[in-house]
C-alpha cells in the first residue's frame, strides 16, 4: 500500500470567501501583513495502485472546474 496526501485548493481567480474571512480576522489578533489566504482540503489515503490517484482526484476528490489538486506521496 502506498500512502499519499492530496491537497485540494480553490483555483486561482475563483473567489474564496473562507480565505477572505480568515484574512480579515487576522489583523484583529495582531497578525499584520498576512495576505492571499486560501482555504482548501487535505485528504490522506492509502492506495494499492497509486497510478490511479490522479483519476480518483479528477473524478471525486476535486472538481477540476473549480479546484486544483496536488498529490504528495508519503
Amino acid at each position: 500500500m502506498a500512502r499519499a496526501r492530496v491537497l485540494i485548493r480553490p483555483k486561482e481567480g475563483i473567489l474564496d470567501p473562507q480565505g477572505k474571512a480568515v484574512e480579515r480576522a487576522l489583523p484583529a489578533l495582531g497578525f499584520e501583513g498576512v495576505g492571499h489566504v486560501r482555504v482548501g482540503r487535505m485528504v490522506e489515503l492509502e492506495a494499492e495502485d497509486p497510478e490511479r490517484l490522479a483519476e480518483l482526484c479528477e473524478k471525486l476528490l476535486a472538481n477540476p472546474l473549480i479546484e486544483d489538486y496536488e498529490i504528495q506521496p508519503l
Partner: protein, 232 residues
Amino acid sequence: MIWGVLQFPGSCDERDALHACKVVGGEARLIWHEDRDLGGVGGVVVPGGFSYGDYLRPGAIARFSPAMEAVAELAAAGGPVLGICNGFQVLCEAGLLPGALLRNEELRFICKQADLIPLPRTSDVDGPKTQAGVEFSAHQHEGATLSIPIKHGEGRYYAPDDVLDELEAKGQVAYRYAAGHNPNGSVRDIAGVRNERGNVVGLMPHPEHAVDPLTGSTDGRKVFEALEGFAG
C-alpha cells in the same frame, strides 16, 4: 405523467417535491438512491437537502449513486429532469449540467424569498418533443417574475467566462435573480441553467416550496406545470 423523486440519505425536500408534482396534476413516487431501475417513470426530480451529508462537496458523492446512473440514461434519452438546490448541485457534479455551485459569497446560509426571471431556450439544437410536437420548454414563462424561496449555503453559481458566454448565446441560462436579488454572488446573476437540449434543468431556488397560498406564493407551480405540460 408519473414523476420519480429521488431520495438520498440526507434529502429533505423530497416530500414537498412529490406534493408539487401532484398539485399540478401529475403522479409522483419516491425513488431510493440505491435503485438502479427508475420503475418506468417519465421524468425525475432531484430534490433539495444534504445528500450524503454534503461530504467532500455538495452532490459529489450522490452523483455516483445507482439511481443517478439511471437518471443520466433518462436524460440522454430526452426525458425531463429537474434538479432543485442540492439536486442542481448533483446534476452539475454529474456533468449533466454545466458549471458548479460554490460557498455563498458572504458564507451565510440564506433563507428568504427571491424574485426570479425565467429565460427562454434559444439553442438551434432540437430538443426532445412530445408526441404532440411540443418541445420541452420548462420555465418559459416569459415576462413573468417568479417569487420563489431560496435556502442554501452553497449556491454561488460559477462557470468560466467562455462557458458563460456560450450558455448565454444558446439560451441555457434558465433563470436569473432579478436586479438586487442575487443573494450569493452567483456569476451574471444566474440562478438556474438548462442543458443544450433543454430537457435537464437545475436551479437553486425552491419552486416546490411555493405551490400553496399558505406559504405566501404559488409561483412555483409554474415550474412544475411546465414539466407536466411537457409530459402531457
